[in-house]
Chain length 561, copies 2
């Protein structure tokens, strides 16, 4: 039943999609291999998702591994209930030895086989998007709709992008060739040559709890497709989505005749964390990490035996210079602030506005006018509390919850609370922790108040001397702390040019004059690079060439013909 024939078939089955991905990546236009709307999926998949999820609860989750040395699992839905799922913990030393031994046949299987298997696994992940939405919702706290999109098709799109980008990088190296050097009267030197794509070693994916699949799939699939076995270490608060992902990849590997443990789940606990232990092991040659700057920086500085790819904290920034239509701008911004309660790595936090006010269409608006317009927009989005719950989602961690109140207290006497954070009652989940955005107003000089990432629904409207001053502050804070997203609003071409320069100077992605239904938080696969890798918020980018090409080396052989 299990033969490598499946693997060859997989490549053929998905080749058209692969070629389409490469075509789109050359122009970076719009394309999504997996539709983002539930209505594009079979009704039974969507309808049955909740029951399938509930069948997982309060049980042991079986996966393939090596010797079991313990069990762990203490996930709690931010919507107010325990998942009650336990997972096996394996002897990690044995697991790493096992993966190293399995690596060779995976390497020798060749590029096409690995590409086919990865694309097949992604396809099968797509087929459980409904259930994945439940798992992501009840670990990350995302709303169900967002959990479906970001945890399902959008994450799968990023996985396809990683596989396609890696395929391109590997395919750019010919498998074999001939070399004929004319030597004048001494004839010709002729060599036949082979170039092998060789994986670096074990790959460790350390996932976050807010986007367990979206942030993990790119590194996971980029490593796997280039031949590296992967240890998937979920955040203890968000294990299920990755357990489901690993299960499917293991199934496809096994069907194709490979060792399913080429991808394995490593579950740890806050009391006995494993990321550092694994990262220090020299068998681990690749590390992907999404999470705190503290641990990300530690990895960059200490795991020097490995290629380290990090996404950390940053200070996402908005600069308001002038607008045509303040309502359209603040409406857009208000939603950006509210979406998933600011728990996105692209959520805005620092909003710079000149204290002398701005030009808005034909009118002049004072700083307070602008601050109040932003406040009003957030209030507008919160007006229908049930609807608000559908995009706020729930607060993932108690630390984020506490941070909201701490930030509010911190500005007292030094700034203004424009809009306090309210607790909302979720219509379906009365125990869910739902909070509306906290909007604070501070002075530009008080960088200590707003100059660090405050993860969660917390934003600062910051009074500056001028747009030039706003840009200088953004340059300083992003230069030091990094950022993934910068938004600029201006009707002045010169200011827009300055923004384009600023973005390049501090290596941050720029969104200009967004209004309407596209938000600075959004990152479109196959078109938008997510993070640049050039500032302190991330040392890598989804998905540039370096993200994939650092995961393999080329080993050549040559012999006289």
């Amino acid at each position: 039943m299990s033969t490598n024939t499946d693997a060859a078939t997989f490549f053929e089955q998905h080749e058209e999609r692969l070629n389409q991905a490469l075509e789109v990546l050359a122009t970076r236009g719009y394309w999504a291999p997996y539709p983002e709307h539930t209505k594009s999926y079979p009704e039974e998949q969507i309808q049955g998702a909740q029951a399938a999820f509930e069948a997982r609860l309060n049980r042991h989750y079986p996966l393939k591994g090596v010797t079991v040395v313990g069990q762990a699992g203490n996930e709690r839905s931010p919507y107010g209930f325990d998942l009650g799922i336990t997972y096996d913990q394996y002897d990690t030393n044995e697991l790493m030895d096992h993966q190293q031994a399995a690596m060779k046949s995976w390497r020798n299987a060749g590029v096409k086989t690995r590409v086919g298997i990865c694309l097949e696994a992604i396809q099968r992940l797509n087929a459980i998007s409904g259930e994945m939405a439940q798992a992501v919702q009840h670990t990350s706290g995302q709303s169900n709709m967002m959990a479906f999109q970001a945890g399902g098709p959008h994450a799968q799109d990023r996985a396809v992008e990683a596989v396609a980008t890696a395929w391109k990088a590997m395919r750019d190296v010919p498998e074999s060739g001939e070399w004929h050097k004319p030597m004048g009267r001494r004839g010709t030197q002729s060599l036949s040559k082979r170039w092998h794509i060789v994986p670096r070693g074990l790959s460790l994916a350390v996932a976050c709890c807010t986007f367990p699949t979206w942030n993990t799939y790119p590194g996971l699939f980029a490593s796997l497709v280039t031949g590296n076995p992967v240890l998937v270490k979920p955040h203890p608060g968000s294990i299920l989505p990755l357990a489901m992902s690993v299960e499917i990849i293991q199934q496809v590997l096994e069907e194709a005749g490979f060792d399913p443990l080429l991808v394995a789940l490593v579950v740890d606990t806050p009391e006995q964390p494993l990321a550092k232990v694994l990262a220090e092991d020299k068998r681990v040659q690749l590390i992907d990490f999404t999470g705190s700057s503290e641990f990300g920086n530690w990895l960059e500085q200490n795991a020097t035996h490995a290629q380290v790819f990090t996404e950390k904290a940053g200070l996402n920034t908005v600069i308001i210079d002038s607008v045509d239509d303040i309502k359209a701008v603040t409406g857009n911004l208000g939603f950006s602030l509210s979406l998933y309660s600011g728990q996105m790595c692209t959520s805005p936090q620092a909003i710079y506005v000149p204290r002398t006010g701005i030009q808005a269409g034909d009118a002049h608006m004072s700083f307070d006018d602008v601050a109040n317009a932003i406040k009003g927009a957030v209030q507008h989005w919160m007006a229908d509390k049930d609807v608000a719950c559908a995009f706020l989602g729930a607060i993932q961690s108690q630390r984020t919850n506490a941070r909201i109140d701490a930030c509010r207290e911190q500005v007292e006497g030094r700034g203004t609370v424009l809009l306090d954070s309210e607790h909302l009652t979720h219509p379906e989940f009365p125990d869910a922790l739902v909070r509306t955005p906290l909007l604070l107003s501070v002075d530009g000089k008080d960088v200590d108040l707003y100059g660090d990432e405050q993860f969660g629904p917390i934003a600062y409207v910051i009074a500056t001397d001028s747009t030039e001053h706003s840009m200088a502050l953004a340059r300083q804070t992003i230069g030091e702390k990094g950022a993934i997203a910068l938004a600029l609003y201006s009707t002045d071409d010169e200011v827009l040019d300055q923004g384009e320069e600023l973005a390049q100077d501090v290596c941050v992605s720029l969104s200009v004059n967004l209004a309407g239904g596209f938000y600075m938080n959004q990152s479109a696969t196959f078109s938008d690079f997510h993070a640049t890798g050039g500032n302190a918020a991330a040392n890598t980018s989804f998905t540039d060439s370096a993200f994939v090409s650092r995961r393999f080396v080329v080993v050549q052989s040559r012999r006289p013909m």
Copy 2:
């Protein structure tokens, strides 16, 4: 006179060569943009080279820089005379500030302009290949012919390869595009987007004394063409070739209207080395290094704020299992051992031969037979001492000279001196330090004798239990110490397959059954990857995709249409 128009012209002038480079890189067949034979160059260039070189001697070498804080320069030709050239030492802090300020216009000049300028500079370097040969000969100790080829056209070829590979990586990202997302009844979301290639920061090139241009040009040009200013820090023993290179690049930059200090020479002394100081500066974001494992490893472990590219020591290995024609094999091997007195990063050192002997054609040869055949081949190459001097070159450093004698002493009582190293008198340069290869025979179990790189004309014929044992020892030593080159001789397809696996397991480039005029030391630009980046001998490869793509990030901007 100096306008950016020149820059546009440069791209057009060299576009055909660039396209040819990309075509060849796709198949990795033979191509050399710059001919390796002096007879292909204008006679006056070759004839006038020595006089031009001599005119440089015993003078100050003027280059463009910032505030001069001292002078240095104490180069001595391994052929037995002092160069007597002094170079300015600049205020490095001021220089780095200056380069940072200059970076912006270089970044904004765009990819084509930078490519054109780099290719023009390489073209002009080609036009001084004759003089460069003199400079490389009298700093590295290479023979004049080798110095011409490796220091001139071959180094220039590697520079073109780096520029072309970087051009491909940058061009793979579109400059701009449109993104239209169909939103069903809500119409279409349309964004116009731009993607900027943004340099990482200052780039530091720390050069070696044996291949000052060949090992430095790839990183130098890859960094420069991707927008990063470059600090070129030569080895104190081999400054002149890089001073000449920097001078030409500065000229082209200035002609094209850019700041010539985008490339600057930083000269230091053994007493006051600067590489560490510069590497620790956070403005330096890229570091290319060729040299000792000690400093290379230090850079990898400590310069974690930068992208670090190293080529270090390794244990280049030959495994002899069986041969068709022992004369052809040992003749090839004997030359490999002798060429530039083993001072190449690809020179063989460890030669494994089963103690039970090998099959050679129809005959069986004992271990001693094989060892003596290698010895005889080296003696054959040394027979005409004047001819020998023409490929041995001179010993670059007194440390290498001392090492030959130390290695000989070390094996006494534990192994055999197959062939002692002799001092030869160079026909043109009586004070040159010329030594023939030292050939030792040791037992495979004595890894402490042969298991570290002994840079210079030192090689070990190592008795093993079997070819399987040879492979196991190679796997162990290369796994630990790294290697750039592995050669395998066998008439058995199964053994050749095992060698192909071994090469991939320890990430080393494999040469199979070389005989005749192509040697394991050689690395053909556009076809051979030099080092894999996958073992301890180097963390990078000339020129794979990661070598160039890590030098820039992509910064995007998007706005509603």
